[in-house]
Symmetry: C2
Subunit: 188 residues, 2 copies
């Protein structure tokens, strides 16, 4: 039951991230997360299946934004132009939360199980993006290749964005990385 | 202690694959694999840590071939030319075993845990390839981008090769996929 708590989900996320950074993911319990947020474990489980899902709760939104961005792309656009639009949409979802993203990346990098979960997330994004391209009439293997290349750019750009000291926009780093991939493949 | 058995590893691999295809990976036990191979479970465990590792025993050799292929590439070659040489080497390792690869792919596709393990293998290959490129003096993010793009091509080409009905060489499908990625990125 429990009464409604304002922004319980946000408070739980923030408390969880603080504890994962302070103590490590494995050493943190749901009870501790709830306590830090001033809530109960029962409330925690109303929002998240387990403590791992705090880190992956945004995946569905990210995927939805990535794929639905394809709808706004003119039919005449090339597959990689469509992918670029999807990456722009992803940058919009993630770009405003650099501190959160940095902390999240550090927590994931420190734990093998989380790194695996993140790999699965990226593979799922790639499959969804390939499906979206097929629905635009892009045939295989082009759909798969463009999606995999797009997710490769996403991954490398995201990693750069969270680790570089200057305060660039994620969308800018994504576009730059895409241009670099183009230059690399053109060179040989 | 058990006496030495000729080609025990190969017999166990073949027996395991037969059973995985016939019954499914989860429904197969190590005892059954050993029995089918005419060997003991004890002998099985001399070669494989568990029944999953039968499917991934080749990963180390694949990675070694992929990375050491870079040594044979002239210093003047572009990063993607180096990646293309690595893919050629991978095709040489895998290309002669299409029936085995087909069966393996089907077994992996049917099991979530194996799909995850395969994702981890591909991510590990990408990191190793990026490291190899860095050792050639390729700076980041180019090293990561070229490696990720190379593994994307590898994955898509391998999938095509095992699923298409005609009997093309894996190396040919890899080169074609790389050319398609180049055309895709050049177009936009």
């Amino acid at each position: 039951m429990g009464r409604w708590e304002p922004n319980a989900s946000g408070r739980l996320s923030q408390a969880a991230m603080e504890l994962y950074v302070e103590r490590g993911f494995e050493q943190t319990t749901v009870a501790e997360i709830a306590e830090r947020a001033g809530l109960t474990a029962r409330t925690f489980f109303r929002y998240f299946a387990d403590k791992r899902e705090v880190l992956f709760a945004g995946s569905a939104v990210l995927q939805e934004q990535l794929v639905s961005a394809l709808d706004g792309v003119p039919a005449s656009a090339s597959p990689m132009e469509a992918v670029a639009a999807a990456l722009d949409a992803a940058a919009t979802v993630l770009g405003g939360r650099r501190d959160f993203s940095r902390q999240r990346q550090a927590v994931i990098a420190a734990n093998a199980e989380l790194r695996e979960r993140e790999l699965i997330k990226m593979a799922t994004l790639s499959l969804a993006l390939a499906d979206g391209l097929r629905q635009r009439g892009v045939a295989d293997p082009d759909a798969s290749l463009a999606a995999e290349a797009g997710i490769a750019v996403f991954r490398v750009a995201f990693e750069r964005w969270v680790s570089e000291p200057d305060d660039r926009e994620l969308s800018q780093v994504m576009r730059e990385s895409l241009a670099q991939l183009r230059a690399l493949t053109a060179a040989g």
